[in-house]
Amino acid sequence: MPLQSLDIRRRSATTIQPPAARVEAIPEVAKLIDTTKCIGCKACQVACMEWNDLRDEIGINAGVYDNPPDLSSQSWTVMRYAEYENPKGDLEWLIRKDGCMHCDDPGCLKACPSPGAIVQYANGIVDFQEENCIGCGYCISGCPFDVPRISKKDKKVYKCTLCSDRVAVGLEPACVKACPTGCITFGRKDQLQHDAAERVVELKTRGFDQAGLYDPQGVGGTHVMYVLHHADDPTLYSGLPKEPKISPFVRLWKGAVKPLALGAMAFVALAGFLNMVRGGASETTAKDEEAAQREKEKMHV
């Protein structure tokens, strides 16, 4: 099964499509996270750090189990713990492994202005190519799940690669290998959808009437899917969006405004070039940074 194919389906900021002759033969892959089997052990977090050579800082305890408290350029996956009292009055501890969802219609890729900084492989994995990243942060605003993070060290953006390097040689992602309860599985997406359907049937016999698969169609489906006890309200799982969509700004950016934007970019590039020729790159001032930050925040709308 050629899951390992790294044929590229899409490339950011590139109008010429990559060769696509073989694409249809390559099955789409997915990671299925069954939250109903998750014990929140964080083995996936540690395996991710080990395989990807990430070493986050030793932080603090902020009064919760979540640690590190959020995704970062050094933590591509984190467990999020939510305490939920159901209508029967019983407590449920809803634990969700958070990280890149590998959208089939990736908002990050659409938003990215740098050619080839974000690619989507034929098997569905969305991967960042940091050497092409210009650190603009547009992917962050483009992401409906708030996943990519800029590194303070090199100002480039990082996120889960779905272990594309492992998948390329026929291995499962590191988190899948480390998961002790079989809560995380990896394989063909259609097979995992079938497995999830079986899980949902079983969960309904245990009283979870609203159990279901999270594979949101607003982003074309995802290559990381969840089995949820409460598929009717994903927000219970530490704010998993109910109907994620690519932000209207990104759609606009990729739609009507795109030719204008490209024109503007060409102008910026030219201006930058002239600036370089005239006196070299200038340092940004604190004011500039603030203005950029404001711009960024606006884009989040």
């Binding site: 929140g40 030793i58 932080g59 640690n67 305490e83 309860t181 079989g182 079983e202």
Partner: protein, 809 residues
Amino acid sequence: MTNHWVDIKNADVVLVMGGNAAEAHPCGFKWVIEAKQHNNAKLIVVDPRFTRTAAVADLYVPIRSGTDIIFLGGVIKYLLDYDFINHEYVKNYTDFTFIVREDFNFADGFYSGWDSDKNTYDKASWDYEKGPDGFVKTDPTLKHPRCVGNLMKKHYAAYTPEMVERACGSPRDKFLQTCKLLATCCATDRVATMLYALGWCHHSVGTQNVRIGAMVQLLMGNIGAAGGGTQALRGHSNVQGLTDLGLLSNQLPGYLTLPNDPEQDYGAFIEKRTRKPLRKNQMSYWQNYSKFHVSLMKSWWGAAATAQNNWCYDYLPKHDKQYDVLQQMDMMFNGEMNGFICQGFNPLATVPDKARTTEALSKLKYLVVMDPLAVETAEFWQSHGAYNDVDASKIATEVFRLPSGCFAEEDGAIVNSSRWLQWHWAGAKPPGEARLDIEFMSELFLHLRKLYQTEGGAYPDPILNLSWPYAHAHEPTPEEIAKEYNGKALVDLADPKDPTKIVRKAGEQVAGFGELKDDGSTACGCWIYAGCWTEAGNAMARRDNSDPTGIGQTRNWSWAWPANRRILYNRASCDLAGKPFNQSRKLIEWNGKTWSGVDVPDFKADEDPANGMGPFIMQPEGVARFFGGGSMAEGPFPVHYEPFESPVGYNPLFPDKKDAVNNPAARVFKRDRESLGKKEEFPHVATTYRLTEHFHYWTEHSHLNQVVQPQQFVEIGEGLAKEVGVKAGDWVKVSSNRGSINAVAVVTKRIKVMQIEGKPVHHVGIPIHWGFKALGKPGYIANTLTVAIGDANSQTPEFKSFLVKVERA
């Protein structure tokens, strides 16, 4: 474990109580998930906190720490009252029908034989009634008022759902749901398993917590069956091996015992342990005791062990008392112990009442710490601010540190909870000057022996004559030691049925403990390990995981003691005639001539079931015991006693009996009695435990573990947080009568206030794992707070239940 990890998948109901398997045993816990997903099993969690295990449970029931016996006594009452018992099993495979002595009695919290002046029990009346033939009397009609079943019914009559609700704080409906779910497993086509760990053991009634769990399983006929049993989940990767090899002060390898001080006579010592059958035609396997003991002595002292010197009986110390760690610290404290060698042990952090430990270690002349890590104990004398507030100028103990290798740097077997001896291979060499533990211990022994040889000394014989047959005296290999545990023939061994036939040549490894002799012709370092390394090679290194019947009986994966038997008491999975109670997960059966199946029969291989031999072959009765006789310190049936620090202050079962509040048989040193706090001053119930992100006090030194759980915290419920005036992330001070710690508060819905005897009681969860040597953020040693009083039988400290006060820091 009576069964093994993989076998959990066969269960229909899984009760996790006195443990938090998902947290502490996440890898083994996969088999619980497997049981849920593929066997439609129901998972019940009973715990003071809503744990990680509870996160995937079908039913969570809160319980006040230290009241497990009331809860399980309530389950026993339910099963008996509503007749949810496996009658065939209980009648034939347990002592349910046995008649107890007339002078046996239980009233107001005490069994017969209590001497309130000496605070001790005379256990003579704790016995079955015996006939003139020496066999026990039974009443199969169960009409006799003193048969065990009726006594038990009477004993647990007060353990009602109402009592459970008000003393344990477990809501009645949740308790009854638990009973109903468990009760379904008294049917022969259903089976329940119980997973427990230190949440049962770390109490002053710890051993009885375990017993009462087993009693529930026996009533339903679940011991011996695939998917059944009671599973002790071992907390330290080789702690099963530690107990197997007898690394306890009163034990010898293979659960043989050291003589007591009065046992100066070898013959009497052996006779007492060679237990005669209490019923007709019972195996009573300990009748072979002398074979295991003599083979051990031959393994240790070789040619020096002879019949003339009673196999070196005089070499063995005769213990006058248990030298457990609490006793040792008390002895140091009193100046009775001057030197201390810690091997892979961090007592400053792991022993209760840190102030007591510090004071004890300060009185030593020398302390040797052999460890791969820079453990706190080695720096107990050094000031680390508030985390270790000592005055080094006042401590004269000389500390030696020996950097040792760790498990991943040596070959050898690790015994897991399933009793599997799994051979592993070194992944790397120890760094720098570090050396493996075997090398340190060998060097120490050779040096001591040399000193005795050159300078003499008091009774040097046990040291001088110790057998040391290793190719390189300074570095015995794990292979050599493993072979020694397995045992070998010292002379040619003949077939007992045909003396002309040699079945084992001198020098060959024995195939099993059945070949061991008490005439000095065999040597064996640990009889239960016989079979692990035979003439066929190292069975522990086997890695064939084929599972021909699909019920997880991978008999060719590593090797399980005893005799590669995967499920203990498996004879009890069959009915009287030898047919499996449950055909869909059968282990063994009687085919008319022999017992055979997918497991090694725990029975005499050719014993016709018609002859009435009981399935519990280690017991002189041949059956399992509800009535514990004199085997336990505090009595034959488990009784609820409050933790030594109780939020109630009286025993809800005997509210007027002031002397029956706590376990009367517990050993309490004066200093520790004085260290107890009162509920008025310390109103909150605290319990200590481990987190899945960390391993004991090792991973505080590891970056990745610290990243995922970076800082010391305590867990409190929202109600207590409100009372104290803190929110999640604020600092709190937690004090007991022995000291205090400061930590971040995790405020959670997972710990709820309980109504105990009509009053609100809050629990405080205190993870261990941090010390002043922690990477990143140092923490306080959690055992600053705990009580140095242990279980009356094992002396395991009461880490799981004590009183504290929580305040804003």
